[in-house]
Amino acid sequence: MEQKHWLTRPETIRRLWWIFIAILAATVVAEFFIAHEVHFSVEAIFGFNAWYGFLACAALIIFAKALGLVLKKPDTYYEKRDD
C-alpha cells in the first residue's frame, strides 16, 4: 500500500483548516489598519464583506437546493425519452 499523498492525510487537512481560519481572521482584523472606503451605509458595519459574503453564499446554496427539488432529473432523462 503506497503512502497517502501528504495533502490527503487527516492531520494535514486539520492543519489546513487552522491556517484557513487564521487567514479569515486576519482579513477581518485588517479592517482596523486600512483606510476604509464607505460608499453605502451598510459598508460601515464591521466586517460587512465577511458576513455578507458568507450569508449570500449560504442563501444561494439553499435557493439552489430548493430549486433542485423541483427541476432536478436523473441525467438520463432526455436519452430515455429519445428511445
Binding site: 499523498h5 495533502l7 490527503t8 484557513f20 487567514i23 479569515l24 482579513t27 477581518v28 485588517a30 479592517e31 486600512i34 483606510a35 476604509h36 472606503e37 460608499h39 453605502f40 451598510v42 459598508e43 466586517g47 460587512f48 464583506n49 465577511a50 458576513w51 455578507y52 459574503g53 458568507f54 449570500a56 453564499c57 449560504a58 442563501a59 444561494l60 446554496i61 439553499i62 435557493f63 439552489a64 437546493k65 430549486l67 433542485g68 427541476l71 432536478k72 432529473k73 436523473p74 441525467d75 432523462y77 432526455y78 425519452r81 429519445d82
Partner: protein, 560 residues
C-alpha cells in the same frame, strides 16, 4: 490604403481554408501562424474605415476600426492562437479549420462598420461554431442541431431588425440605437440570443459541453463575447440590460451549483460572467463600459484556461462527471495548478486578471449610487467563487480519491495552459497595458488597501460557506431542467399529440371521402355506364318530346 489582405478576420478565414487541406508540419505552421498574424494586424489596424465595398445600393464598411473593435479583435486572435495550440493533437480534421473560421468571422463582426457586414459575419460565425460542435461526432449531433436552430432564429430576428432599421432610417451604419422602434427591439433580441440571455439561454449549457475536449475551449470565447461587443456598440446605457444581466448572473450561479458535468458547470458560468458584462453595458457610464470591455478580455483568457484544464482531464480520463472524478491533482499537478489559476481569476482574486476588470463594473454602480445593483453584484462576486472558483477545482482535482491516475496531457496542451495562466497573472499584476487598450480613458486604481481587503473577505468567507455546507453540494447523477425542456419535451410531445390527432382526422376524412367517391362512382356508372340511362340510344320521339317541353318552358317564362 489598407487592403482586405490586412483584415485579421479574413486572414484567419483564409488560414482556416488552408488548414483544412494541409497536413503535418505545414498544418501546424498555418494553424499557429494565421492567428499570430491576426494579432499583429489587429494591433496595428489603422483607425477609421479602411475598406469599403458597394452592395446593392449600400456602401459597406467591411473594415472599420476604433479602440473597441481593436480590443476585441486582439483578444479574439490571441484566443484563436491559444486554442489552436491546445487543439493541435485533436484527431478530428474538421474541428480546427471550423474553429479558425469561427474565430475569423467573430473578428469580422468586430471590424464591421455597418449592420449588413455585421449580419454577414454573424451568420458565418453560426456556421463555424456549429461545425465545431459537429466535429465531436455522433453524440453531439442532436445538441448541435438544437444549437443551430436557436442561432438561426437569432439570425432571423437580427435580419428582420436590420431590414426594419434600414427601411425606417435609410442607413445601414452600425451605431448606438435606442429602443424606440420595433426594429431596434428585434436587433436587440438577435444580439441577446447570442449573449445567452433569458429566455433562450439553454442553448449554451446544452451544446457547449457536447463539443470535443478542445472544441469547447473555442466555443467559450467567441459567440457570447461577440454579442457583448455588439451590445457595447449598439445599446450602451440601456436600462433593461441591467436587469437582464443580473438575472444571467444568478441563473448561472444557481444552475452551476446544481450541475454534475464539469464542463457544463463552466458553461453555466459563462452565462454568469457575460451577465456581469451585460450589467455593465446597461449601467452605461464610461467606467462601466470600460469594465464590461475589460471583463470580456480577461474572461476569454481565464474561461479558456478553465476549459483547457477540464478538456485535459476529459482527454486523459474520458470522464466528464464530477461524480466520476476527484483526486486528480496527484497525477496531473500542472493541469490542476492551471485550473486553479483560472478559477482564482474568474473569482477576481487580487493579483489575477478578474480582479482588475470586474471591479470596474461594481465601481460604476457605486459612482451612480445604484445600491441594489451594487449589493447584487457583491453577492454575485461571492457566488462566482462558490460555483466556479472552488467547485470546479475541488470536485475535479480533490474531494474523494477516484483512484484515477491519468498522466498530464501532451506538451502542446501544457504550453497552451501555462501561456494562458501567465496572461491571467500578468494582467492581474500589471493591468496597465489592458487599460490602455480600453475604449475610454481609465481613471481607476484597482489596488487600494480597502479594495483588496474587502474583496478577500468576500471571497474567503464564501469559501468558508462552501466547505461548511459541503454536504448540501454533494454531486448527484442529475441534470437540472431548463427552458430547453420546452422545445425538447413539451413542444415535441404537443407535436406528437397534434400529429396523432391530425393523422386520425385525416384517416376519418379519407374514409368518408372514399365512401362518397365510391357512391359518386356508382351513380355515374348507373347514369353513364354502358347500361346507364344517359348512355342509351334515345328514340327520336323522346327527343322531340323533350324539345317540346323546353319550348313550352321558354314560352311560359316569356310571359311571366
Amino acid at each position: 490604403m489598407t487592403s482586405l489582405f490586412a483584415h485579421p478576420g479574413l486572414v484567419l478565414i483564409a488560414g482556416a481554408l488552408a488548414v483544412a487541406w494541409l497536413r503535418g508540419g505545414a498544418r501546424t505552421v498555418v494553424a499557429l501562424g494565421a492567428p499570430l498574424a491576426a494579432v499583429v494586424l489587429a494591433w496595428n489596424a489603422p483607425d477609421g474605415v479602411a475598406v469599403q465595398a458597394r452592395f446593392l445600393d449600400y456602401e459597406l464598411a467591411l473594415f472599420a476600426t476604433d479602440k473597441l473593435s481593436r480590443l476585441f479583435a486582439i483578444i479574439f486572435s490571441l484566443m484563436a492562437f491559444g486554442g489552436a495550440l491546445f487543439a493541435l493533437n485533436q484527431k478530428s480534421r474538421l474541428e480546427l479549420p471550423a474553429a479558425l473560421l469561427y474565430a475569423g468571422s467573430a473578428i469580422g463582426v468586430t471590424f464591421a462598420g455597418d449592420l449588413v457586414t455585421v449580419f454577414m459575419f454573424w451568420e458565418l460565425m453560426a456556421i463555424g461554431s456549429t461545425l465545431v460542435v459537429w466535429s465531436a461526432g455522433r453524440t453531439a449531433y442532436a445538441a448541435s442541431l438544437r444549437y443551430l436552430m436557436i442561432h438561426l432564429l437569432g439570425g432571423v430576428l437580427l435580419m428582420a431588425g436590420i431590414a426594419g432599421h434600414v427601411a425606417e432610417f435609410g442607413s445601414i451604419a452600425f451605431g448606438r440605437m435606442m429602443l424606440d422602434s420595433p426594429s431596434h427591439w428585434l436587433i436587440l433580441a438577435g444580439f441577446l440570443i447570442n449573449a445567452g440571455a433569458p429566455p433562450l439561454s439553454a442553448w449554451l449549457p446544452d451544446a457547449y459541453p457536447e463539443a470535443s475536449w478542445s472544441g469547447t475551449v473555442f466555443l467559450s470565447a467567441f459567440t457570447t463575447k461577440t454579442a457583448v461587443y455588439v451590445l457595447l456598440r449598439g445599446f450602451p446605457g440601456t436600462d433593461l440590460l441591467v436587469y437582464i444581466g443580473l438575472f444571467m448572473i444568478f441563473y448561472g450561479i444557481v444552475y452551476a451549483l446544481l450541475e454534475n458535468d464539469m464542463r457544463r458547470i463552466l458553461a453555466y458560468s459563462i452565462v454568469n460572467q457575460v451577465g456581469f458584462m451585460v450589467t455593465g453595458i446597461g449601467i452605461g457610464t464610461e467606467m462601466a463600459l470600460n469594465g464590461a470591455a475589460a471583463h470580456a478580455f480577461t474572461h476569454i483568457i481565464y474561461k479558456a484556461l478553465l476549459l483547457m484544464s477540464a478538456g485535459s482531464v476529459l482527454l486523459m480520463t474520458g470522464k466528464r462527471k464530477c461524480t466520476d472524478l476527484g483526486g486528480l491533482f496527484q497525477s496531473m499537478p500542472l493541469t490542476a495548478a492551471c485550473g486553479i489559476i483560472g478559477a482564482l481569476s474568474i473569482s477576481s482574486f487580487p493579483l489575477t486578471s478578474g480582479f482588475v476588470s470586474k471591479s470596474m463594473i461594481s465601481q460604476a454602480a457605486v459612482d451612480l449610487h445604484l445600491f441594489y445593483v451594487w449589493i447584487a453584484l457583491a453577492a454575485a462576486s461571492a457566488g462566482v467563487f462558490l460555483h466556479a472558483g472552488i467547485k470546479f477545482p475541488w470536485f475535479v482535482f480533490y474531494q474523494k480519491d477516484s483512484g484515477l491516475r491519468p498522466p498530464e496531457p501532451p506538451l502542446n496542451m501544457r504550453i497552451a495552459m501555462v501561456f494562458f495562466s501567465a496572461l491571467c497573472i500578468g494582467l492581474g499584476v500589471a493591468p496597465g497595458p489592458l487599460y490602455d487598450l480600453l475604449p475610454y480613458a481609465v481613471d481607476y486604481v484597482p489596488y487600494t488597501g480597502a479594495h483588496v481587503v474587502t474583496q478577500l473577505q468576500l471571497l474567503l468567507f464564501s469559501g468558508l460557506a462552501f466547505f461548511v455546507m459541503l454536504n448540501f453540494l454533494k454531486r448527484t447523477l442529475t441534470i437540472t431542467l431548463d427552458v430547453d425542456w420546452v422545445y425538447r419535451v413539451l413542444l415535441t410531445d404537443l407535436t406528437r399529440i397534434a400529429a396523432g390527432g391530425l393523422a386520425r382526422a385525416l384517416a376519418r376524412s379519407q374514409a368518408v371521402l372514399a365512401d362518397r367517391a365510391a357512391r359518386l362512382g356508382g351513380r355515374l356508372y348507373r347514369h353513364h355506364g354502358p347500361e346507364g340511362v344517359l348512355a342509351r340510344t334515345w328514340p327520336t320521339g323522346s327527343m322531340a318530346l323533350w324539345a317540346m317541353v323546353l319550348l313550352l318552358g321558354y314560352l311560359l317564362l316569356y310571359y311571366l
